[in-house]
């Protein structure tokens, strides 16, 4: 077996263990800076990945009896998660000041959650799907409740724990039913037999249970109930990682289960996916309107974005799948930029209310500009990444509409959702520049690595918005391994 296939995972695991070990020997004052070392390590791994790992288009390399697949799709999501974790680590160094103890554990747990995401992007078997999903989820229980002294953080952890464990129960029972009817756990083997099982109620019930577990990860209705509370209560870097990494892991697993393991079944489920996507978009956008807490607002907006991403899956086409990947790429820069700003602002004002952004335009033009651009991109206005992503998703949905009129309705709901979202995203921008009362106008001076990360986020948003060609070509190439 070729160990190079698992090199991302092995390197990240080694880095996580090194961070834990280094904590033993480093003096207390230096531990906070371990985050920079870990981020530098991830940058090295990312560089290694681009230089040394190559997969020919359409080619799939397997390890562990086809349990683990390395293909373009896996590689895309591995690099995506590595980049997300890198920025989250930089953010956590800023955040670490407010943490009483265990800063290095926080970094190490972030790396272990990343390990789960790397494994999830390659899962080609229900056993690996389950283990990687749980590695992510259990690590996030701890990360969400890391601020033990704050009641909100503990409460977020407990809520995530109960709902997460519930979804685990559903997933495992679903896997048991699918396994019982087919005798297979491997996606490739399942694909060979699933076409004959499309009418079997028990099989479909098992698949619905598995999708319920994945729906929890991406925060889609009706499994979205945890998202606002956990987003609000968890420490900011955790929330950012949850919103970007954990959601992307849910989507790659969803793509693999739907379009590798049971393609025939998912093609029957067009209308179910349409309904789920439409309700998720409406729920997220409508509930976000009255929110005053910024993190909670982003929690609801993340539900809405799960709905937009489901558009591409509901389209049941290559274009749709490739649009999902593109949208996630834009979402990474947008959301991490926004959360980095929140992390810096909230550290200073100890409040998460939208009003606490008052005067940010004068306190730090860079932070204000990043947050403004992120909100514009989340709302989906040109010329930023969010616009191109939404455009591709809608295009893929409308292309399917002549065959199934329901897609017109879905496209209409998505556009209505965008219009609703303009209201609350612009409420944030208004708070930054046009608040009457600004109690605190002391300047905020971001550290050099954070400034670099913010510039990278701005560049990413503009690049993906103005020059979509490169990434579109890549994502179209990558989804060829799916059906």
């Amino acid at each position: 077996m070729n160990t190079l296939l698992l090199s991302h995972e092995l390197l990240v695991l080694a880095l996580g263990l090194l961070v834990l070990l280094a904590d033993l020997w480093l003096p207390r004052g230096l531990r906070r800076h371990l985050g920079y070392a870990a981020a530098a390590g991830l940058a090295g791994i990312l560089l290694f990945s681009f230089l040394a790992i190559r997969v020919a288009p359409g080619e799939v390399q397997y390890a562990f009896f086809e349990m683990y697949a390395l293909d373009g799709l896996a590689l895309f999501f591995k690099r995506f998660s590595l980049l997300a974790a890198l920025m989250v680590l930089l953010m956590s160094v800023e955040f670490a000041e407010s943490m009483p103890t265990g800063v290095s554990e926080y970094y190490a747990l972030t790396l272990f959650a990343l390990l789960g995401m790397l494994l999830a992007s390659s899962a080609n078997d229900f056993a690996l799907l389950f283990v990687s999903l749980e590695l992510i989820t259990i690590t996030f229980y701890v990360l969400a409740s890391f601020h033990r002294s704050r009641m909100t953080s503990l409460e977020a952890g407990v809520k995530y724990l109960i709902i997460g464990a519930l979804s685990t129960g559903f997933t495992v029972y679903g896997i048991a039913l699918v396994y019982g009817l087919t005798g297979k756990l491997n996606f490739n083997e399942l694909a060979a037999v699933s076409s004959s099982l499309g009418g079997n109620r028990l099989f479909l019930f098992g698949m619905v249970l598995i999708l319920a577990g994945l729906g929890f990860k991406i925060a889609a209705v009706p499994f979205q109930i945890w998202a606002p509370d956990v987003y609000q209560g968890a420490p900011v870097p955790t929330t950012a990682f949850l919103a970007v990494g954990s959601k992307a892991a849910g989507f790659v697993l969803l793509l693999r289960v739907l379009f590798v393991a049971v393609p025939e079944v998912s093609f029957q489920w067009g209308s179910l996916l349409i309904v789920l996507s439409a309700i998720t978009i409406l729920y997220g956008n409508l509930c976000a309107i009255p929110q005053r807490n910024l993190k909670r607002l982003l929690g609801y907006s993340s539900i809405a974005h799960a709905g937009y991403l489901l558009l591409g899956i509901a389209a049941l086409s290559r274009d749709g799948q490739s649009a999902v990947l593109y949208y996630l790429g834009g979402y990474l820069f947008t959301l991490l930029g926004a959360f980095t700003v929140l992390c810096l602002v909230m550290r200073q004002v100890e409040s998460e209310d939208i009003a606490s952004l008052a005067g940010l335009g004068q306190r730090s033009p860079l932070l204000a500009a990043t947050l403004t651009l992120a909100m514009v991109s989340l709302a989906g206005l040109p010329p930023l990444a969010g616009f191109v992503g939404k455009f591709l998703l809608l295009k893929s949905v409308i292309a399917q509409a002549p065959a199934q009129p329901g897609y017109y309705g879905l496209a209409f709901v998505a556009i209505a959702g965008v219009v609703i979202s303009l209201y609350y995203y612009f409420g944030v921008i208004r708070a930054i520049y046009w608040s009457r009362t600004a109690p605190d106008l002391s300047p905020i001076q971001p550290s050099a690595p954070i400034r670099a990360a913010l510039y990278a986020c701005i560049a990413g948003m503009f690049y993906l918005g103005l020059f979509p060609g490169t990434l579109v070509n890549l994502t179209e190439e990558v989804v060829k391994v799916l059906r």
């Binding site: 283990v131 033990r148 409460e155 724990l161 109960i162 464990a165 129960g169 495992v172 048991a176």
Partner: protein, 101 residues
């Protein structure tokens, strides 16, 4: 009467439903957690029964993974619930109300 696959599956479905009912109806976090564990074990029973009656060992191996992961989940979960109890002196779901709207 010989015990067949159906019997195991019925027991497993009953256990799963009882666990789910416990999660939905009970208000004590520890009891909710017990219900969650019961759902996992219901799935394990189904997996082992399927595996035994189809002579395919994959299911039994998968059960080992589920047990291991469930143990990790319990370790983290109970620690969290204890931390919550220390802070609030309560483990009731109704008392988790510091985030609203």
């Amino acid at each position: 009467m010989s015990v067949g696959l159906q019997h195991y599956l019925v027991v497993s479905a009953v256990l799963f439903s009882l666990g789910l009912l416990g999660v939905i109806l009970r208000r004590n976090l520890l009891v909710i957690y017990m219900g969650l564990e019961m759902m996992l074990n219901a799935a394990n029973l189904a997996l082992v029964a399927f595996s035994r009656f189809t002579n395919n060992l994959d299911g039994q191996v998968f059960v080992f993974f589920v047990i291991t992961v469930a143990a990790a989940e319990v370790a983290v979960g109970l620690a969290l619930i204890v931390a919550l109890y220390r802070r609030r002196q309560t483990v009731h779901a109704e008392d988790l109300t510091c985030m609203k709207l």
